[in-house]
């Protein structure tokens, strides 16, 4: 299922990232609002569940200690998309940077509770942005979908991992035991 952001009958006004930043400054949008900007339309993200938070925290604790200096781990933060919008992935890894928002990432992880179709739909965007490693941690199906080999048309490779499997990230970080990830 594609996420549809416009209907022909009602052409939605398209906001830019700068517009959204100005909305936060003007107090129109709460700084902590869980929204993404998709094709110029602000979209509300599904609320997190405790298990969702636990998994993100586990991954963060897994990667951050070995990241020091080489890259940065960002959690539910802004990642600009090639179409002029932004996503707030659950966790992503970027090269060290300051004073600007990242438009590419080395690894993106989305934890899907009710958002699997939305997260699958995002694969096209992450592939276009050249994200080499995109994981969807599906806590309903208890599996991890690892997307690799990004092309302009999407990821050439999608591999499914379940409890008992180990994922070797493309990044130089320790392997991820899927059973531990899913039951942190």
């Amino acid at each position: 299922m594609a996420t549809q952001v416009a209907t022909p009958a009602f052409p939605l006004y398209r906001f830019s990232v700068e517009d959204v930043i100005a909305m936060v400054k003007a107090g129109i949008l709460d700084e902590h609002a869980r929204v993404e900007l998709i094709d110029g339309v602000l979209v509300e993200m599904s609320p997190t569940s405790p298990r969702h938070s636990d998994i993100v925290a586990w991954l963060n604790a897994h990667i951050t200690p070995v990241a020091r200096g080489r890259f940065q781990v960002r959690v539910q933060d802004t990642l600009l998309t090639p179409s002029g919008g932004y996503f707030e992935p659950d966790l992503f890894v970027v090269e060290p940077m300051r004073n600007r928002l990242p438009d590419r990432a080395l690894l993106v992880v989305e934890v899907a509770y009710t958002s699997r179709s939305h997260d699958l739909w995002k694969a096209a965007t992450y592939a276009t942005a050249g994200v080499p490693d995109y994981w969807i941690v599906d806590v309903v199906r208890n599996e991890v979908l690892v997307h690799r080999d990004p092309t302009e048309k999407g990821y050439a490779s999608v591999e499914r991992f379940v409890a008992g499997d180990v994922i070797a990230p493309l990044l130089d970080v320790p392997p991820v035991d899927v059973a531990s990830l899913l039951a942190p």
Partner: protein
């Protein structure tokens, strides 16, 4: 339809104009909390609207207000900018929430304007006209109910549309479509 679109309030949209996020050239409506862009200007649309407003104005003077492409508050907390509305006098610090007549002039926007019928019916607008410039006809909706109009009548050149508010002038469809 975008089930999970972020919903803005009227106050949010006002603040967007104040903060310069929306500029004076940005004409938008707020539909179910979503900011909707208005269609691009069109010469024939403008000419038909000008002609219709000129017909209505003399009869309305002193009794009703005629507002052109101005704010009409909707029940869901949003607002529309109908091409023309005829309203009873309201206090100067209020915006209209209903009207005696709403007219939308459609040029490539028939689906969008037809989609507004439910909103106008719910607001108790007794008649809603869509002047369809693509098909050269006027669709007149009457008998508003909570979710829709019970009656839709089609008028073409040669016909005359008589507003329910009797003091408003009868409109010759041929003259309206070729002002």
């Amino acid at each position: 339809v975008l089930a999970d679109a972020y919903r803005f309030s009227l106050a949010d949209v006002r603040a967007m104009y104040d903060a310069g996020i929306l500029g004076p050239q940005d004409r938008v409506e707020l539909v179910h909390g979503m900011v909707v862009a208005m269609s691009a200007p069109d010469p024939r649309h403008a000419a038909v609207l000008e002609w219709l407003a000129a017909q209505m104005a003399p009869a309305a003077r002193g009794r009703f207000g005629i507002r052109v492409r101005d704010t009409f508050l909707t029940a869901d907390g949003g607002y529309l900018l109908p091409d023309l509305i005829v309203i009873e006098p309201i206090p100067r610090d209020r915006l209209p929430e209903t009207a005696l007549l709403v007219v939308e002039i459609a040029r490539g926007t028939l689906a969008r304007d037809a989609g507004k019928a439910a909103t106008y019916a719910a607001a108790g607008v007794p008649e809603y006209w869509i002047v369809d410039l693509d098909r050269d006809e006027v669709l007149v909706r009457r008998e508003p109910g909570p979710t829709a109009y019970a009656s839709i009548e089609r008028f073409v050149p040669g016909d005359v549309v008589r507003p329910l508010a009797g003091v408003l002038p009868a409109i010759d469809v041929a003259a309206l479509l070729a002002p």
